[in-house]
Symmetry: C2
Subunit: 145 residues, 2 copies
């Protein structure tokens, strides 16, 4: 491994590859055991790799014969001696088995990485979309389902 390679860009590329392949093991291998996630959907937070694997298996398992093409825009990476921080706009595009684009959604993503052994892994991830003030009733409250 080339130590000068940007760990954020490498992780995001692997995120996209493993999502396209619906490979939960490859996906989860990008993260630390003690991962903490503020995910866009349905719950306040996720803690630990087991919860994240369950999310990935549920996501990939729900796709049927669709595929998800993940692309990143405006990727910014700040790499320190032992921590790295990246943020980007991520676009999830659902494709039919025939390769037709079905729908697409942008998220805002922040990832924080640290060196674990010889490699960089994600230990915190935060994805979201901004809200209009009047949307508050659709927001999941802390401690909510």
């Amino acid at each position: 491994m080339n130590d000068t390679t940007d760990p954020v860009s490498v992780a995001l590329a692997s995120y996209a590859t493993s999502a396209l392949a619906k490979d939960a093991d490859a996906f989860v291998s990008l993260y630390t055991e003690d991962l903490h996630v503020f995910d866009m959907w349905n719950q306040w937070e996720l803690r630990g790799i087991d919860a994240w694997r369950k999310m990935a298996q549920g996501w990939f398992g729900s796709l049927g014969d669709e595929r998800v093409v993940v692309t990143f825009a405006d990727v910014t990476s700040t790499v320190g001696a032992d921590l790295a921080l990246g943020h980007a706009t991520v676009t999830y595009t659902a494709m039919s088995a025939e390769g037709k684009e079905l729908r697409s959604l942008d998220n805002r993503m922040t990832i924080a990485m640290r060196r674990a052994g010889g490699s960089w892994k994600i230990f915190h991830e935060h994805t979201s979309g901004p809200l209009e003030h009047q949307t508050l009733k659709g927001m999941i409250k802390r401690g909510g389902a």
Copy 2:
């Protein structure tokens, strides 16, 4: 300054103090000039300290004689040699001039800090609340207002 002090906890305490005082200059001084923010409200992202100062002045200026008490829960801090990452649940509680609690809202917050000169400053912040899938229509699309 004690170098062993956790920069994340120091920054969050100063965030709360400056918000309570409605002191936009003190608030903005916690951040780098090239700050990037994924904020909870109304737009996809904010870039640069001038945009952030405008947000703070608008926020504090809109409060009239109310005050905002900011508290943090579940603060987690990871401090590296030159970067630091923190995440927490932040609660904004609006108080009347008479000290009565008017309303309260929880956000999820991630901050990334780096050493700038002798001190730590926030260069990236991400706040959000999780959504139900059916809330998508309330989400601001990228490039939206």
